[in-house]
Symmetry: C3
């Protein structure tokens, strides 16, 4: 068939993007451990390993079929994916998939990597005081049920899609879904011991490894090549390459903007602001990465960078303790990026902005309510937060009995 | 020609997979240094750099032609590859290669990256007490001769291939070949000072950098996209994407399984068990990654995770000192994965299981005997193990005169 | 159209190579911080983030159009790229681009990633004593004007191209352009306090994190798959795969050679020499990676490895203080690689060697003069070097008020 080569190239691109989105889990891991204290490092790594592994298993057992109920009418359904033997109908290339540009297998794996991301966002915000068991239970429910259900409303062809809501790669459907749960978690958990003193003054709690945090941001940026580039759902040369350009320009502009603004406000060159500005730009462009031109992208990134600086200050002022800045990056910039689709680029119109706002509110409301219910039930049963002594000692020893750098020594020679 | 686009896409996929397998060397490096003591870090990194560089050179000088003697009858042969000038016959696209889906150059480089892997597996197991010179000599012989010779029996179209032995991407031909040599090396070297006390009690020797070890596992997982995905030897959409799905599900299931079982047994959430479970799942799926369905892969991964927990305990009970768990991961799970081809998936049959067992025994026997001879001759001539004082001081100062974190300070501000 | 699949595959390869060149910025970051002292880590990371972000923005605002003035006659021009709305003429696929094998967007992003590299090379050499503001100003001018102007002489179809000068992927146009500026910067800045004592004796100043430095080198090697492989400007199977083979063999040979020679000279196995030998081999093959055979590449790498050992000694003897060895790697091996095009491989001839030499001198002269002017003006106005107390205290606290490992502790358990 003449289309074999094109299908092969499209599927190939989607597999690469799948690998890149998977690699984001290393980026998140590095970012989270780098910006937190050493005594909780093993715990955070364990959580990250849990999220990516259980995320894929949950998505195979049910999430995939829940999120795309319209596909594969004859064969799919809850608990159907992982029940197959060697081959799905037509070896993963039913008529629907042959026209889609990638196989059923690729579709599952790309979407499965996305699903795990939402929970990872929560992981950073609730770090350094959440109980491991409680986080694991939350993750299984949020990744296995809440995320795919919300996703089905838009990407599964549901009512948000019919409404005209646009979210190219998930400023709302991934980043805000994670961000809202992060906000709820942070609110219910309360601040880490020592974060706010009795007068309400906020104390900076510096992270233990900025090189790894910085590496995490660069790895996440690279991963976004796949996150946004793969959301084209084919290797279409014009759309994929435009998407990479807008993604990179927004990231660059976000970093420049946040470092410049934070330097104006606080009179120093703050590396973590630079890093969060890059991430803010990336989240901000995600909803409309295929709808913007270069200048639009730079402007979206610049605004995201400003939002990061003021957003982090606002969250601190509200006495919310988010160790890694996840709420400002994923929630606030996720909202901004979703609105930006109505303001900049090819789809800009007042009507679209209103539709975007409606989508933001519906998804936000559902995310808040569902995460509130899950976290609340956990809190009332097994509890959300570790004991005070465990928090002071650190979760690595308290929950794992392991130190992250057990043999580290100085002045070796 | 109509096939140009398809050939280009196929070759492109193989080049990407080559890059991913290369990247596994960073994964192995991080894993090995992370799980060992700081005083041997420079030494391990040096060994890893040596393995990848000399591995490629040896493969160019002879290994490639030794492993694929049937290819390019007219032109190839021992010491032929690197002897060429600018172009091989037809610019790397002889008739044989044109139908294969990739060029002669791609074939060499992909297989060359594989070759270096076998020696890297040994590196971790013998770490912290082997002499650098001795390891380098072993590597040159094992990568340059033993690995390609064994590979030729199956992948080069030799007698194991005729027998019906199946090993898709090398559970046996790569991982066990490395694993058997690791076992022999560990046995001949003896345990590190302090690992087993006079009563035979085993002492845990914790690693110095779990964040890098965890990063190593995630990088290896990503690298396996290329290791298994590239073993399709084309970008065939159905087979490559199925392979990535089975690879990722086995990795996820292996991690969940080993962390769950080790929690049942030892009552704590052990991050290194989680990590080794992921790796065990990856090694376990490697032999049959293109023959399994999702559920098969999850089951193979779960069993690999259980094997890891008990395998590591067994090796410890046998007074074998394997600092990174390489024998459990690469040897035992390699054997398991090879057998699993006869038990699960499209090829499952009693006969196949027997054939798999025969292949395991033949390759195992040859690997053990050849590594025994090489290590024994080295031991009797220049010696295998460093002096006691050098081991206590650490190989970084003893063999390299360098410290891994020479300028590291606390409380900088 | 029958060509759609081929165009898609070509563009796809170029996008992947773009991602890999982007990823080199993590490699450079790790290498630079790993080989320098801990007290300047945040500063170096900040510089690296600045280079990649401002580099992309400057390239969008003007550099791209400056470098390729001949393209897109009707639409392009200074400040034109980022001025576009959603779509350039024909969605990034004008007639010129349709025949080129990739879209306008891909072209911009791939070249933009290259542009930032030149400044990153300077960053390492001037580390630990340059003022942040001064470095940022230099970067903006060098990346925004000097680099694209020089690039236009060859890759933009200018007079060096007409002359027959050959530089496949930038041994001269990228690496030497960065290397010459590094040399000028190092000369004008002077050595770090304590590097040379009053008798002129050179003191080694060890880096603080060799594991990250080693990771940086492996990441850079992977990035070179894109740097050289993408310079084919299509996914042409023969040329891209040949290029990857020559690139990897030169890297391997460079590492083996430099570690062997440095062991002969200094009687120890020096990991940083091994690492710089790999990088020297990579820079050395870059100018002719598509013109060499395997044996040529190995020889070019071996010579590059020897150059590294003696080059680093020479620079030290000249009392030039280059903390990461950037001048030996990027300048000297860049010159060597450019000359090697006339000595080895398909283009070897005496005439070509002379043309290569002319190109080296012209580019070198212009790079030296322009970086001398920029650095000199900065020195006379805001100053180049930090205060003595700031240098002793470290740039992290002096310029950023942040410590790189603020919460790092020993003996956590």
């Amino acid at each position: 068939m003449d289309n074999t080569a094109l299908f092969t190239a499209n599927n190939l691109w989607m597999m690469i993007c799948t690998g890149l989105v998977f690699f984001m889990h290393l980026g998140f891991s590095f970012l989270e451990i780098g910006l937190t204290r050493q005594k909780n490092t093993v715990n955070i790594l364990f959580k990250n390993f849990f999220v990516i592994t259980i995320g894929l298993i949950m998505y195979a057992l049910g999430g995939f079929n829940l999120m795309y109920p319209g596909f594969e009418e004859g064969s799919a359904g809850f608990l159907k994916f992982a029940g197959f033997g060697i081959a799905p109908p037509d070896g993963g290339m039913t008529a629907e998939y042959a026209s889609a540009g990638y196989t059923w297998w690729t579709d599952f794996l790309f979407q499965g990597m996305f699903a795990a991301t939402a929970a990872t966002i929560v992981s950073g915000a609730v770090a350094e005081r959440i109980k491991l068991n409680s986080f694991m239970i939350f993750t299984m429910i949020y990744v296995g049920l809440v995320y795919p259900l919300i996703g089905s409303w838009k990407w599964g062809g549901g009512f948000l899609d019919s409404l005209g809501f646009y979210d190219f790669a998930g400023s709302t459907l991934v980043h805000s879904v994670g961000g809202w749960a992060a906000l709820v978690g942070v609110y219910l958990l309360g601040a880490r011991i020592g974060k706010f003193d009795s007068n309400g003054k906020s104390n900076a709690i510096p992270g233990h490894n900025l090189p790894l945090a910085a590496a995490g941001v660069l790895i996440l940026w690279l991963g976004w090549f796949g996150f946004n580039g793969g959301s084209v759902l084919s290797a279409d040369p014009e759309l994929t390459s435009l998407t990479l350009v807008t993604t990179c320009l927004a990231a660059a502009a976000g970093g420049i903007s946040s470092s410049f603004v934070s330097n104006l406000m606080y009179k120093n060159y703050d590396l973590t602001m630079f890093m969060n500005g890059v991430l803010g730009g990336l989240v901000g462009i995600t909803a409309g990465a295929d709808q913007m031109g270069p200048l639009d992208s730079i402007l979206i990134g610049i605004i995201a960078g400003v939002i990061i600086v003021f957003g982090i200050a606002l969250i601190d002022k509200l006495k919310l303790d988010d160790p890694v800045g996840a709420i400002a990056v994923h929630l606030i910039c996720g909202v901004w990026g979703t609105l930006a689709v109505g303001i900049f680029g090819a789809m800009a119109s007042f009507e679209q902005t209103i539709i975007q706002l409606i989508g933001i509110l519906i998804v936000g409301g559902f995310s808040v309510i569902s995460s509130l219910i899950i976290f609340f039930v956990i809190k009332k049963t097994i509890g959300l937060r570790v004991e005070k002594e465990e928090e002071i000692k650190g979760l690595d020893m308290a929950e794992h009995g392991m130190a992250s750098y057990a043999d580290f020594r100085l002045n070796q020679n």
